[in-house]
């Protein structure tokens, strides 16, 4: 970390960086607002409002982990926490930035559970992106795949989380199987997703 990955901006491939978020980053996404330009687009407005709400909920959870000193701000920090308590539950936030975008493109709150799995609590992209005010694509999917790369690096055998009515079709497209209210990305799928983000220009 930071991890460089490609995203699409206005139809062109460009670069973005994913890294561990700090206190300042979490405070920054907490201040996201629903753009007024979306007032006459109720579906997009609702998506942007969800992104803002998720950012606030993630910040609320972050305060708990910060106060209990179970929050990691780097991969080395996370490894230290795991080494100090193999059965401990630890939390970290990931953020995506790019030199062509002001602020944070997207973020995710992830937990390393007591049995060494990764659980994705929240993943959200900037309200301007999910509201389709800017032509940026693949940030959400790349964040999920990057979480898988991190799982691979940490030796986790599962990445899991809760799927909703809105997000289940997204997971179904990635995992090519029906998804209900729980999704699990197993070890062999983690390898596939990690490879996609680790070396995207590799020969097929």
């Amino acid at each position: 970390m930071p991890l460089r990955f490609p995203v699409v901006k206005d139809g062109q491939t460009t670069e973005a960086l994913m890294s561990f978020a700090t206190d300042l980053d979490i405070r920054a996404v907490k201040r996201w607002k629903v753009p007024s330009k979306l007032n006459d687009k109720p579906v997009m407005r609702s998506r942007a409002a969800d992104a803002c709400e998720f950012a606030q909920l993630a910040a609320k959870r972050w305060r708990h982990y910060r106060d209990t000193k179970t929050f990691a701000t780097s991969l080395a920090h996370l490894n230290r926490l795991i080494a100090s308590n193999a059965r401990g539950e630890f939390c970290f936030h990931l953020k995506v930035t790019a030199d062509w975008f002001q602020g944070i493109l997207g973020a995710a709150m992830v937990r390393r559970t007591w049995c060494h799995h990764l659980m994705i609590d929240f993943l959200f992209v900037h309200p301007n992106i999910c509201g389709q005010l800017v032509g940026v694509k693949a940030v959400g999917l790349q964040m999920l795949q990057s979480a898988c790369l991190l799982a691979k690096e940490l030796g986790c055998k599962r990445v899991w989380g809760e799927a909703t009515l809105d997000s289940a079709p997204f997971y179904e497209r990635q995992l090519r199987r029906p998804i209900e209210d729980l999704f699990a990305i197993e070890k062999h799928e983690i390898q596939v997703f990690a490879a996609r983000v680790d070396n995207p220009a590799a020969k097929a």
Partner: protein, 60 residues
Amino acid sequence: MMKPLAQMTQAEKSRLTKHMQMLVELEGDFPGVLGNKNSFFIAKPLPRRRKTAKRSKVAA
């Protein structure tokens, strides 16, 4: 990790463009958020009560 775009050969760039077309298709109409705001797992634990030391009576 991915090589910087500026250092990629033309062949690598074309492979990357194809790869990104596949990813954009796979992402589809991404709702913008993943997770469940009503999840039981994200409920904030109740604050623990701190034991307060008994105040000793002060003689008037």
